[in-house]
């Protein structure tokens, strides 16, 4: 039983391990600051290891940036000011969610534009097909009514011949 418990506890260990890469200095004056800190770390890209955010990265540059962000939060700076600070140094790329600007316009609106183009072309194709279908129908109907008229005319002629 004791052995089982030990195994179970050992299984729990990995859950404790990745608590935070940023465990050096994370004390804040209040809960709000601490929340801002941890949410911001997820918003910024580590420039050194580009597919990680600052919360996950162990790069020394990430350490520096975390330290700087903490100090700025303690200074009473908000998300926008810290964004500004990082973008001024590392460019828009540092933000995982790029801001809406002339430069990132295509990035933000591109997918919607493509969707609109796609829907538009589907609509146009569908409408064109519908019109062609109707035209064919009308053509077929005209054809059959012409045939019916011819048939009636022939009948009439036959009746006349018979009657005479």
């Amino acid at each position: 039983m004791k052995a089982l418990l030990l195994v179970w506890l050992l299984c729990l260990l990995p859950m404790l391990a990745p608590a935070q890469a940023a465990d050096v200095l994370t004390t804040f004056e209040n809960e709000e600051q601490s929340q801002l800190y941890f949410s911001l770390l997820k918003e910024y890209r580590c420039l050194k290891c580009q597919n990680q955010n600052l919360a996950d990265s162990h790069a020394s540059l990430a350490d520096d940036l975390r330290r700087e962000i903490r100090l700025q939060i303690l200074d009473g700076k908000g998300k926008n000011e810290i964004d500004e600070y990082l973008v001024a140094r590392y460019g828009e790329f540092v933000l995982y969610r790029p801001r809406f600007s002339a430069k990132t316009l295509v990035l933000w609106l591109g997918p919607f534009a493509l969707l609109l183009i796609g829907l538009g072309s589907v609509y146009l194709t569908a409408r064109r097909r519908k019109t062609t279908d109707r035209e064919q129908q009308i053509a077929a109907m005209t054809k059959s009514s012409q045939a019916a008229e011819q048939h009636a005319a022939r009948l009439e002629r036959a009746r006349k011949l018979l009657g005479d």
Binding site: L47, K48, Q50, S60, L61, D64, L65, E68, V87, A88, R89, Y90, G91, E92, F93, I117, R128
Partner: protein, 180 residues
Amino acid sequence: MSLALKLLPLALFLALAGFLAKGLTLNPTELPSPLIDKEAPAFVVDRLPATDGQFDSRDMAGQVWVLNVWASWCGPCVQEHPFLTELAEQRPVPVVGLNYKDQPEDSLPWLARLGNPFSDVLDDRRGDVGLDFGVYGVPETFIMDKAGRVRYKHVGPVDGQALQETLLPVIDQLMAETNS
């Protein structure tokens, strides 16, 4: 359907293919610096050795200068070292070495061993100046113009090709500019 409308999907495809092809040739680790053409961050730091006093970046106003970010723990810095020496010999511009996140007891012997191409060696052991310049790896090399703006940034070690084809021409061009 007009011809233009018919060719639209092809045009869209070609545009997309063009963007993707461009993407393949880019080096994802080289990020454009947002500092280009902006005023270089001003800073005051200790020189190395510490007996040499402090360095104020504002004292460089009026001349073209080069800031090379290096460290003794950085392998590629050894590679680029001879080319920095060449740069310092070939053009009369100050080549300032920012010793990034390093300890003087490591960096000074490094310089003594390989030779010192720098007009000033600056102590940035906490990486604060590096942070202001948006340094995300060493080595990085910045070129400042006479008006104190960052005009060029080279990421990674300077090699013979980068020196001859980019750095020296950029320096010549900036030196030819009148102070505006």
